[in-house]
Symmetry: C2
């Protein structure tokens, strides 16, 4: 199975242009026989919003909106799985920082980011559902979004639910996630695809933000199979056998799920945060 | 505060010799004004046992046994905190892979490793208590032992209990822990001291094992402040301000404890492992 992070440079507030970039990247990926492609967080709108109204104006219902419809079309045309981030107009009035997942035959679902970063707290509602794994014929795929990297709980839940490939659409500005995702791969014995964007976004009334690129695909041993540049766009591709993530024996006597001491972990799940 | 990992080369089955090494390292550390020194896992007996009887023969009660008594003496003499690993003769009949913590004025306690590695399952009982934090005037100190690195739950519990410095006495043979401990520092915003041993241990009836050295001290930003050689013994020292680990704001709007979504983490704590 060939998997890819599409390290693109979305243009702020230009959804049509960004959907064209997506179209082009899917075509290029298909030419290289990619089976799963992951686009960055909020890759339709850009990131550095200056008001909630601005965010709202780019939100789309999923799957009815134009972006998910495009992904459905492209997934079918190229026989691939597509994961990508967008501002989602929820069923009621909230807007979510979401990632849609679309298979070759159908729309599969949507993950609403549960750990919001910085200003996102002003723009988005946090998701109310735990991370989810979609079990496809080719692989079991889990989805988180960007800042979820910081919470080992999120990827751990995906692993326990059978995730083989963790997809992380991102708009990273801090220097941590690339190293931490290597640990997420090792500790959960899963593949991780970090799809980050590049570019700088100045925006009225906001400080410019520079995104760090360096998308990466890591195997369950923590080996980085492919890595993107810090500053240039491009496809980051690796060939993998997803079922290798099913081997949870770190040694002949250590199965990382069975070795968990759940009865001693209750502190993680009780309401008292401190 | 100066903290140190004592990257030593314990001699297999020679407890007196190893206690002399410890004595020497504490003296050297004191000459450099070290306030906290961490020795490797099982640093009195060595690691590559060939029978349970052999392990049992090196087990000592804590704090009554000669090693903890030595640590109490050295901690007092040098006005330091000492953390170190040893085979503990439990109150009943079991033997634990433990780490003792001793302050300048008194014995503080003992952590019994909860995630046993490979053959250790034949030699030791797993601990039955969650990881613990000792709150001293100079710092809040949490203790894990070696393979506990693989379980993000263990360090997370320490963070939630207020840990500022995570001490990890180790006998590492796999190539993962050094990278993962950087992630443990970042995700929990704590200092981590990985104290690993060096050397190769052939042993009757067992394959020789080579330990990987590379002890390291990492700050809450994931910066490696000091690192040991892969093959040479030595003190790995860094000067830190432990209270920096109290700052849980990753950004002005992101407090890594308050941002946890405990209500969505229940999967981590229920009995069904898969």
């Amino acid at each position: 199975m060939k998997i890819a992070a599409a390290q693109i440079h979305p243009q702020f507030a230009q959804p049509d242009k960004n959907r064209n970039i997506i179209r082009r990247y899917c075509k290029r990926a298909a030419q290289q026989d990619v089976d799963l492609i992951v686009f960055p967080e909020l890759c339709i709108s850009g990131y550095n919003f200056s008001s909630k109204e601005q965010v709202d104006s780019f939100a789309e219902p999923v799957p009815e909106g134009p972006t998910t419809q495009l992904w459905i079309e492209l997934a079918k045309e190229h026989n691939m799985i597509i994961v990508g981030g967008l501002a989602e107009q929820g069923r009621s009035e909230g807007i979510y920082n979401s990632a849609a997942i679309v298979g070759p035959d159908q729309f599969l679902g949507c993950y609403q980011k549960i750990h919001l970063f910085a200003n996102e707290k002003d723009w988005f509602l946090p998701g109310s559902q735990p991370p989810h794994v979609w079990k496809l014929p080719s692989a079991a795929i889990g989805v988180l979004v960007c800042f979820d990297w910081a919470f080992p709980e999120a990827s751990r839940i995906l692993m326990l639910e059978g995730c083989e490939i963790l997809c992380l659409p991102s708009n990273l500005v801090l220097p941590y996630a690339q190293r931490v995702m290597v640990a997420r791969s090792i500790e959960n014995r899963i593949f991780t695809v970090l799809a980050n964007r590049i570019g700088t976004e100045p925006s009225t009334g906001c400080k410019p933000i520079t995104f760090t690129g360096s998308s990466q695909i890591t195997n369950p041993l923590g080996e980085i199979l492919a890595r993107g540049s810090r500053t240039r766009s491009g496809l980051v591709i690796a060939e993998i056998q997803p079922q290798k993530a099913q081997d949870k024996f770190l040694t002949g006597q250590n199965h990382i799920i069975n070795d968990r001491r759940v009865e001693l972990y209750q502190r993680l799940c009780n309401g008292d945060q401190r």
